[in-house]
Amino acid sequence: MSDRSQSGAGESHGAQGDILLRMKGLRIEGRADEQWLEIVHGVDLTLRRGEVLGLIGESGAGKSTIGLAAMGYARDGCRISGGEIWFDGVDLAKASDATKRKLRGSRIAYVAQSAAAAFNPAHRLIDQYCEAPVLHGVLSRHDAEAAAKDLYARLHLPQPETIGFRYPHQVSGGQLQRMMTAMAMSCRPDLIVFDEPTTALDVTTQIEVMAAIKDIVRQFNTAAIYVTHDLAVVAQMADRIMVMRYGDLVEEGETRAMLDHPKQEYTGQLLAVRELAKEEAKRPEGATPVLAVRNVSAAYGKVPVLFDVSFDVPKKRTVAVVGESGSGKSTTARVITGLLPPSEGHIEFNGEPLPADYRQRPKDHLRRMQMIYQMPDTALNPKQRIRDVIGRPLSFYLGLQGKQKEARIRDLLALIELEPDDYIDRLATELSGGQKQRICIARALAAEPEVILCDEVTSALDQLVAEGILRLLIRLQDEFDLSYMFITHDLATVKAIADEVVVMQNGRVVEAGPKGEMFQPPHHDYTDLLLSSVPEMDPDWLDRLLAERGEQLRDRGI
């Protein structure tokens, strides 16, 4: 850290092209069941100054582990067991803790997935910003504050002069993630590792953060490793992409070249993941909808969250309810299930009004409406075996016992494409995320329902796994004449599964109609924003979109 100036904008630390980071045969082991297992099997990586490298793969592919290894760091229970990590002449795999501590924060910085969890809630944002530069002796406290305000402005944060004096809980999730980026930039590092920085955000917020990161990395000519599971996101950000799977490198190449001509089948699958689309089925004429939400308003305590919400779920159709977090989608589901009695309006099931509270609904009504949750981890009791999880609704609703019940459990497991003999005696904790979600589906099916409420059922899963779940749901719908109410914030999922779409914002339905119409203009402004915010595989998409939005804003005189 010799000739690096701290204040200048758009200044580069040497010409682009010098190799900044080189990993050779990197091996990382993790400890499980009292023994070391290799999780990264000899990966090579080179990163030049000012270059953005995308690391992509499913969860468990080792991409975050490699991202952290770029700082010479291994998570608790992991160790770097082999290979070299050369950062500007220092081998981080062998460097002493003191050496690494000097580099971290000042020359290599890290941006975590959950900014909310990574900030200390007890300190003001600007104090946390200033900590690293002051500690590393790069800037005085006074200069660091000035630099922070400058960076906040560059990251398009509102009120850059004062926003730093707020606490982490006083800014939104998207703003917090940009704050985190600002903090990583505080010492003008040569390399920043971004670990899924937008995964926890809504599509509309994701754009702000992506744009801010892209902009700032370019301005300071910082090299970056961008870890994500979303190929469309990485396509916007990265110059070069490395596709990882099971701790091995699958494919590496320039972004454009890889998107146009993937060499490996796995990369092709990742690229095709957003292309699943269901033929839209028209609503049957004159039939009573299975489920009807009629002018429902609801409140948590005294805080109103739903205002006059109405829509239908027709028989054998899928209605997708779309909106960003806080728009009232999940609350609507809670009203329908009877967990939150509405303050006004009611729910109709096959034309009959349902009691508002689930405790007053007859058992048979409860049976005919089942729910699948976003987080399969918390939706399955970790102490129960799969046999009991699926078996309970069978004996509870249908009175099945003994051999009959056993046979039905096996049928259901076969139906969700899990081998009965392998899975029937397992605990929920012994399954992967996708398998857990399949078990949740089987549990819902066991009740022989007419309508299933799916609350973001794929958003906690990897894309390929999520696609498998969606295909399964579509097949089951045909087989058992099911109706789905499908809550999601992901429009690719809507395209894949829905017949009709309901768009919600701030507790109100802003637009509703058949899927085909919804994807065609003209839209409600909000629908338009949602639709245009979904990342596309095209690497120019983000720049183009920002240019368009910029023009629109200028047209309106903003």
Binding site: M371, N381, A447
Partner: protein, 281 residues
């Protein structure tokens, strides 16, 4: 089943030395308590040394005799049976009351939770030893009364714990699934919540056992616990306390028995807590 024993063995093999020490000592106590007449050289209340020759130490009486000529070793062995046995039963009752009430409060919430929690707050506001002394003076000192009074007073702590850990489980989606399925209260408590909080409850059982056991010893020392001539470590310390002014170590032996058991149980509980909290080594 073979795998279950195998797993248990694997678990024990990885136990730290302190846990091993605790396990061995606790097992010895249990065996001694169960087979007291077999180990004890003399009877529980038998006066074997009328002349008082064995006070302090003597060849015939390993730990000497007490102030009225009973063999201290025999009384400590019988005392294990009384003190430990009653403490165990009391702890069981404590958990039955505390866990059931705590889980009801957690699952039902609302006014049930309010009423139960406020009652518990009130009970906890009064120093337990003074409260127990008061009640026992009124209702009379019998073993049954003592068990009931201690169980009710101590169940407040178990209630707090069961309610707190139960709350964490009640908000899980799988409990909501069970509710929406139409399951009854008993099913939700027994099959959805209880299995997920059994680890902290089991650990608390060990700790609570120590407290109950010390509590009984204190009550006995104050003369409101087990009544003479029943051998009990707490009352033995009290009865023989004057001997210490003659420079005799005899009253320290039952006290040491109390201390050793408490330390051992805590070793085991520490290990168990560590194990179930998922911390590595």
């Amino acid at each position: 089943m073979a795998t279950a024993t195998h797993n248990a063995w694997k678990l024990f093999k990885t136990a730290p030395p302190t846990a091993w020490f605790g396990l061995i000592v606790v097992s010895i106590y249990v065996i001694v308590a169960l087979l007291a007449p077999f180990f004890a050289p003399y009877g529980e209340t038998e006066i074997v040394d009328v002349a008082g020759l064995g006070v302090g130490d003597s060849e015939k009486f390993l730990l000497g005799t007490d102030h009225i000529g009973r063999d201290v070793l025999s009384r400590i062995i019988y005392g294990a049976r009384n003190t430990v046995g009653i403490a165990f039963v009391t702890t069981l009752v404590t958990f039955l009351i505390g866990a059931v009430a705590g889980l009801l409060a957690a699952v039902l919430g609302g006014w049930v939770d309010q009423i139960l929690s406020r009652i518990v707050d009130t009970l906890m506001a009064i120093p337990p030893l003074i409260f127990a002394l008061l009640i026992l003076t009124i209702v009379g000192t019998s073993v049954l009364n003592m068990i009931i009074v201690i169980a009710i007073l101590d169940s407040t702590r178990v209630f707090r714990l069961a309610r707190a850990v139960g709350m964490n489980v009640v908000v899980m989606d799988y409990v909501e699934v069970a509710k929406l399925r139409g399951e009854g209260l008993w099913w939700i408590i027994r099959y959805e919540v209880l299995p997920n909080i059994s680890a902290p409850l089991a650990a608390e059982f060990g700790l609570r056992f120590c407290f109950v056991f010390l509590f009984i010893a204190s009550l006995s020392f104050l003369g409101l616990g087990l009544q003479p001539p029943t051998a009990d470590w707490g009352s033995m310390v009290r009865e023989m306390s004057t001997l210490i002014t003659f420079g005799l170590p005899t009253p320290l032996f039952p006290a040491a028995a109390v201390a050793l058991l408490t330390v051992s149980v805590n070793f085991v509980v520490d290990w168990f807590l560590h194990k179930t909290s998922g911390l590595k080594t």
